[in-house]
Amino acid sequence: MNTPSQRRIAVAGAGLLGRLLAWRLLRDGHAVTLYDAGALDTPPAAAWAAAGMVAPLAETVVSERCVYDMGRVALTRWPEWLAELEATELWHRRGSLVVAHPQDENELTQFRRDLDDALGAPPGYRELDAAGVRALEPGLTGFRHGLFLADEAHLDNRELLNRLLEAIHALGGDCHGHTPVETHPGEVTTPVGRRAFDLVIDCRGHGARPRHPTLRGVRGETLHVHTDEVHLSRPVRLMHPRYQLYVVPKPGGRFVIGATSIESEDRSPISLQSSLELASALYTLSPAFAEARILEQGVNLRPAFRDNLPHVSREDGLIGANGLFRHGYLLAPAVVDHVLAEIRDKGERPFAAVLSEAAPQESLA
């Protein structure tokens, strides 16, 4: 039995991908150094701002079939990984609920048709009447119809990022916050100089834009609120002609409401318009949210290539994994599996047809 020879690996970017890869590589016996330009305890990463949904069905409606196929991996990989982290309580496989107000019910029909068209039979949803919606979420009383997507889940994502960092420390990972780096084959440049590695993995998200001419940031805004008056067991998506927003319950009476999607690399605080949209979506779900307290507003840039799909680039001594767009927690497991197979350099690389392909126009731009 061969044991993988220990390699010195640098991981640039301590967002979700960076933490997962650092952790898995440490477990494989490699010496890992993790860098992030921001703080490690509250990382300025899309993964920290995200709501932590694992929604292969609903996300496929707004993207491509391969998002569903890769997302299915997440539904098995997350419970395995969380068991290893002794953090199974962070995983909630309770499905998700899609609703629309009576005047917008065509949006629900359109969503159902798009889902049928994308995934075919058998449908991955169950149609609900008013009683069915209330049976799942007693707090939601204003809806005559809904769809229940049983094969979806959500994660307590911030706690997960903390646990991953703890595990990385426990396994002897060398972590550097507030350390912006540039990545090169077999080398990173830090503010204090150059350092050589056997392999560099660049997963800096939008921070890697200088290396990727076609990578762009897509602004997403969220609100975090607290209330003890409303209880939700699962993510709820509200279909509306112009915005499709979701609410994800978090531990301790917290809720994350997201997210806008604006083609801009603006990182300034949330706009009044967006906060009105997010807050009124929440209020119309249940008026009991009226007295919820706004704990924070989140703004971040989702890293996206032109097809809004992830891509993994490979050259000698440097791997780049990027472009998870709005699907971080959904697609990270498939991307991590792929990168680890690439590093082991044997066996099949999962989803190579998508992930190994160069991002569209990346070489031309």
Binding site: E263, R306, D307
Partner: protein, 265 residues
Amino acid sequence: MNTRNDALVLYGEAFTSRFLLGTALYPSPRVMQEAIAAAGCDMLTLGLRRQNPAGGDGDAFWQILRESGCRLLPNTAGCRSAREAITLAEMSRELFDTPWIKLEVIGDDYNLQPDPFGLLEAARELIDQGFKVLPYCTDDLVLCQRLHEAGCQALMPWGAPIGTGRGLMNRYALRTLRERLDVPLIIDAGLGAPSQAAEAMEMGFDGVLLNTAVARARRPAQMAGAFARAIEAGREAHRAGLMEQRQTASPSTPTLGQPFWHSKP
């Protein structure tokens, strides 16, 4: 029929395509690029309001639009007063180095219906400033006349409220506009099916602007191609001269040889 001489002329400039496409709501920029190619359009509209345009933060996305080679037509979508729209138009002129503006002043938040009063006010000022204004308006004759008098050399009346896909809701009003106004009229908003776009073109409208119907189709590029052919077919039909409808069927082949038992009483 020579379609090459059938250019759409707006503010003295000729455009080969009568299909204008919006750039919001696509599943990805790649899908949008495919739709633009399938549409064969010359002009793209783009919204700026929420992108912090003053900071240039939308540039990564605008770059994709510039690569299309199409004329970019910035819009003032999301503005609720004449003042907001004027400020955004001035900013877009700086950013895109263009006097062209698709002017939107929204009067109702729910159905995004244009505010005719604010629209006219903003159109007057922008035309004074030298802008080439394409106002998104309702199908009201007097409003359209006023906008024309204010100096708008093209108008963009709605077919139905934005994003509804309901088609030409008020054919009477639209026909009146076409008969009374000698200015390019582009149907903007509300179309959902290629047949509706063909009908607008058959009625003598000069062009069609689409966004949701293409972007939200399951296969946007295929839908863009379908609309492109419908717009062309409707235009050709208009130029060819449609026959008038008749009260009773009139057989196109002689009935002399038809056996009498096939005749209805």
